[in-house]
């Protein structure tokens, strides 16, 4: 009988956590918007966006270069080096851009968000805001949430563009694929709505999930050093799993059914 009771208790706890996370998201989304929030959001855009630029650009460049190298060796067997452009571009725009950006974002910015909010809680800064009659959801959570939502699609676009340039660097400048065919076959194959816009939609969904998990884990963390380190780890693990799982669902919805 004991395990039934435990299952029940576990389920109730899960439901309660989901409820708290939902309430927090609701609070952050609909916290009375004010002009004071815009500079705060810009500041967070710097923290989560600009400070993630370096890792995004370097990763995008190398992933594009590696794909060109791998793709070239395979395609050249069939005499189809001309298809290198679309191969690199489609993989980046549809999958790697949004997914790798989201994973890097979870590791770089998500963990930092969790740790920051967790520490603000541990050092009583959140309580202190409440006692100063300032809603921490509006002052602390909302700007970070919106900054994440804005920054991630931007980073994903930059990632894909840099990757395509990296593919050009290796494929065209180094391995000698014809530059004209690299671009023109890419242009003939890549579709604006189906590939570019769907990639942006994917990264918006990932942005929502990763930022939400990161902020909630910080907000709901146990305010001790152990609790915060645990919350930070959970942010990276949960958001990576959520991104990969959701990516399959989104891909099935977008590309699976014609």
């Amino acid at each position: 009988m004991n395990w039934i009771q435990q299952t029940g208790r576990h389920t109730l706890e899960r439901v309660a956590v989901t409820g708290r996370a939902g309430l927090m998201l609701f609070g952050a989304l609909f916290a009375a918007p004010s002009l004071k929030n815009i500079p705060l959001t810009v500041r967070q855009l710097y923290v989560v966006g600009v400070q993630s630029l370096a890792i995004i650009i370097v990763s995008g460049l190398f992933i594009g270069m590696v794909m060109a190298l791998q793709g070239y060796t395979i395609l050249t067997d069939y005499g189809a080096e001309g298809s290198l452009g679309p191969m690199v571009a489609l993989s980046l725009l549809r999958e790697l851009g949004p997914v790798v950006t989201a994973l890097l974002f979870a590791g770089r910015a998500g963990s930092a968000l969790t740790a920051e909010i967790g520490l603000m809680k541990a050092t009583e800064q959140l309580s202190s805001l409440e006692m100063m009659a300032v809603d921490p959801l509006r002052r602390v959570v909302a700007p970070r949430f919106w900054a994440g939502m804005i920054a991630m699609p931007m980073l994903a676009l930059i990632f894909s563009a840099v990757g395509i340039l990296g593919g050009h660097l290796v494929g065209v400048d180094w391995l000698g694929v014809d530059a004209g065919s690299y671009w023109s076959i890419m242009q003939a194959t890549v579709d604006w709505d189906k590939d570019v816009i769907n990639g942006v939609i994917k990264s918006l969904v990932f942005a929502l999930v990763v930022t939400w998990i990161a902020i909630f884990k910080g907000y709901d963390s146990i305010p001790t050093s152990e609790g915060i380190s645990q919350a930070t780890t959970q942010t990276v693990v949960f958001s990576s799993l959520a991104v990969l799982g959701l990516d399959f669902v989104l891909t099935a919805l977008m590309f699976g059914i014609e």
Partner: protein, 270 residues
Amino acid sequence: MQSNMDYLVDVKNMTFSRGERVIYDGISLRVPKGKITAVMGPSGIGKTTLLKLIGGQLIPDGGDITFDGESIPAMSRKALYHNRRRMSMLFQSGALFTDMTVFDNVAFPLREHTKLSESIIATIVALKLQAVGLRGAAQMMPSELSGGMARRAALARAIALDPDLIMYDEPFAGQDPISMGVLVKLIRELNDALNLTSIVVTHDVTEVLTIADYIYILADQRVIGEGTAEQIKGSDSELVQQFLHGKADGPVPFHYPADDLRAAFLGESD
């Protein structure tokens, strides 16, 4: 009705528990206006919890807490936020915002809650910092301050909006004797100069006895002694005396409850 006028905070028969653990069981205490009230007790009996209950961050399970005659647990969120502008809390860690300078920290409540121009805010902040002796440190970051200075900066922030009530959570914990002396002086002076009402939660006996107008001693989820400093010193309660003089053993036992030592070591059971 007279009592409502004299007491700013009135805790009536309040019960609060966290999970299975009962923290307060029908506790009552009153905070007179314009005075410094000290709440003392051993560590870990939820003195900070009491302040959070008064601030409306926690809701009691039973009983009532009133602030200036209005019930805090019954307030709407909006009314609560409105009333919180009249109270202020100095956290144990100071809780300064680590991403802002001292100046911006003190200016924060003014910028959030008033529409004053930046030049007026700068003047007010300078005055508040002057009051705690930190005007020269306005452009420093909280990480550059010593513990005592951080607490004074937080105090300047706490009085920025000229509140009616200020709650100090363990203001003396972990301070060197000089900082402690400075804080004692500040609490007393600010209270008299700004016509504040202060609640000081602490377990530092000597400091409190010098400044508090009225003292409550808590233990075992209830009030075990109350009165002015003189009355407390003359109390015949063993528990109060043990606490005041820091005796190792007494009504609060030295040993955490355990089974008999002889039985545990020699395996005798009878």
